[in-house]
């Protein structure tokens, strides 16, 4: 009994230390300008106010960046699903010549970091006229090897008899994917959608490179630029950090079961 208490208390302490920075970010975001620049640091605002948020959305146009982030992440998610789900299914269940060789190449490519090709990709998109556009930010999400991998792993567990039965009934291959397979894939589709949405929302280096116009900035790029100008405005910056990270944190908390199971399917079994 005491052992249970000690271990649980220890876990509670570790958890508190881990999420303390996030709780404090939230607390400071409600403080008045300059209030957090004191020693010892205040834990709670003396008079909680939304002034920092009002300023962010009023004077710094954060609403625009929020809309950009929502647009880019939503489109990235839809496009990634459109491209990777059929491919993942095909690699698992359809027998076509060259399939296994191509798949082995894809697995090998999984170890190559995307940053390696960043400079040529920039030149390539520049030639295509996609630099400094939303489309330019979306392009890397089309090439999601991890997504193919995830969907394939999941599809392997679908019994072949199901497909054969549908084929004997005269269903076309496209109809089989659409009517029979797609409904079965809901858990892995939710997982993949969540992965892509969170990763594209949090992505920084590529949007930083591809966007020149401030009007196109996503939240992380805008926040990084703002934080370089406002090093001393802690309260304002904490409010900016809350606006940037709270949407994905809430999304994760709501769907964490899907996220964690996908993480394991993608890393351990692979």
């Amino acid at each position: 009994m005491t052992r249970r208490l000690v271990v649980t208390a220890l876990a509670g302490l570790v958890a508190l230390v881990t999420i303390a920075p996030l709780l404090w970010m939230l607390s400071v975001s409600f403080m008045a300008p300059g209030e957090a620049a004191r020693f010892p640091p205040p834990l709670l605002p003396a008079h909680a106010s939304l002034e920092n948020y009002r300023q962010l959305f009023g004077s710094y146009g954060v609403g625009r960046f929020l809309a950009n982030s929502l647009l880019v992440s939503t489109l990235a998610t839809l496009l990634a699903l459109l491209f990777t789900v059929p491919a993942g299914y095909a690699f698992a269940k359809l027998r076509f010549r060259g399939r296994d060789a191509v798949f082995r190449l894809l697995v090998a490519a999984l170890v190559v970091p995307g940053q390696i090709g960043m400079l040529p990709l920039f030149l390539e998109l520049k030639a295509m006229g996609l630099v400094n556009s939303y489309a330019g930010a979306l392009v890397p999400w089309l090439a999601g090897i991890f997504g193919i991998f995830l969907v394939r792993q999941y599809c392997l567990s679908i019994p072949d008899e199901m497909l054969e039965a549908a084929r004997i009934d005269g269903a076309s291959e496209a109809a089989i994917l659409h009517r029979i397979i797609w409904p079965l894939l809901t858990p892995v589709v939710v997982t993949l959608a969540l992965f892509v949405f969170l990763s594209s929302w949090n992505d920084f280096m590529w949007p930083l490179i591809v966007f020149a116009d401030q009007d196109l900035y996503t939240l992380p790029v805008a926040l990084a630029a703002l934080s370089r100008e406002h090093v001393q405005d802690n309260e304002l910056m904490m409010a900016g950090a809350v606006v940037t990270t709270l949407p994905v944190l809430i999304l994760f908390l709501a769907l964490q079961r899907f996220y964690l199971s996908g993480l394991l399917a993608g890393s351990v079994k692979g």
Binding site: V7, A15, M25, A87, I116, I145, I148
Partner: protein, 298 residues
């Protein structure tokens, strides 16, 4: 009928995978290969304006990098991040996983989610938060240190403390991810195995060393490989927290590549950095695999 169905299946297989494969070829494989090609050219701002200014220069970019002290500074910083960060993150994640795996723990799912939460936060946002937490005069970290009579440490302003400061942030941000992977591996180790060792009189450390660690050795390898790659690819952390400073103490290889490519528009030289970075990650990974094989982990 059957032959037609087989043909249909082959056609459908290619049709369904072709869009994704085309995208991967166009936006991932081709750029990665083009990096190698680009690294042998003098692609710069003049070639960007007019491609006819482009020349092949052989290994000149590489030769210049080898003579560039800032490149070596970036390289040695990244090696430090890898050498200190990898054991730190692996040990921290394993400890957290063992804590959450403990059979005496109540409300397990709650702690698992709480410890994982930093991983899903936006890197730029939490880097901004930690820049503030690590503030010399009024940061929470120095306040906690002062309670123990230590500090204050000029975390982000001193060339010796800046790299450890960023590592603390990186460890906080990433340990939850590896913890989940370790947790899954620990769950496959039969409790009876540890129980038997305990009855035989093996202490806590002996059980960890002779029972638990050998059983999860492949996962330790996997997490180490992933962490090495991640440590070589630090960019956002120094960009937001220190801008590579002070005195270039936090310029990483990727940060150097970014500045070379997109600040100075030396794309040929930047591509050479990318190639070298890839070779470094590949090299360390191969060494890890070899050590693991010799140790009997895989």
């Amino acid at each position: 009928m059957s032959a037609k169905r087989r043909a249909d299946e082959v056609r459908a297989g290619w049709a369904m995978s072709a869009p994704a494969l085309a995208a991967i070829l166009l936006f991932f494989v081709a750029p990665a290969l083009a990096s190698l090609f680009l690294s042998f050219t003098d692609f710069d701002i003049y070639a960007l304006a007019d491609i006819s200014n482009l020349r092949f220069v052989g290994f000149e970019n590489y030769a210049r990098l080898i003579e560039n002290p800032l490149f070596w500074k970036a390289m040695s910083n990244s090696v430090l991040f890898v050498a200190i960060g990898t054991p730190l993150v692996v040990a921290l994640s394993l400890c957290a996983a063992m804590l959450v795996h403990s059979r005496w723990l109540s409300w397990r799912p709650l702690w698992r989610v709480a410890l994982f939460a930093p991983y899903v936060t936006t890197l730029v946002a939490t880097a901004v938060v930690w820049r503030y937490l690590l503030n010399t005069r009024y940061g929470l970290v120095n306040y906690l240190l002062s309670l123990f009579g230590a500090g204050p440490i000029d975390w982000l302003g001193s060339p010796t403390a800046s790299l450890p400061a960023i590592l603390i942030f990186v460890a906080w941000k990433t340990f939850g991810y590896n913890m989940i992977i370790f947790l899954a591996a620990l769950q496959t180790v039969p409790r009876e195995l540890e129980e038997a060792a305990r009855i035989d009189g093996a202490g806590r450390l002996a059980r960890l060393r002779h029972v638990t660690l050998p059983a999860i050795a492949p996962t330790v390898l996997l997490v180490s490989v992933l962490t090495v790659a991640a440590m070589f690819q630090l960019f956002t952390e120094p960009y937001v927290m220190t801008e590579g400073g002070p005195a270039q103490s936090t310029v990483t290889v990727l940060y150097f590549m970014y500045e070379e490519g997109f600040k100075w528009w030396n794309l040929g030289s930047g591509a050479a950095v990318a190639v070298l970075l890839f070779l470094c990650i590949l090299g360390v990974t191969l060494v890890q695999l070899r050590l693991a094989r010799r140790g009997g982990a895989i």
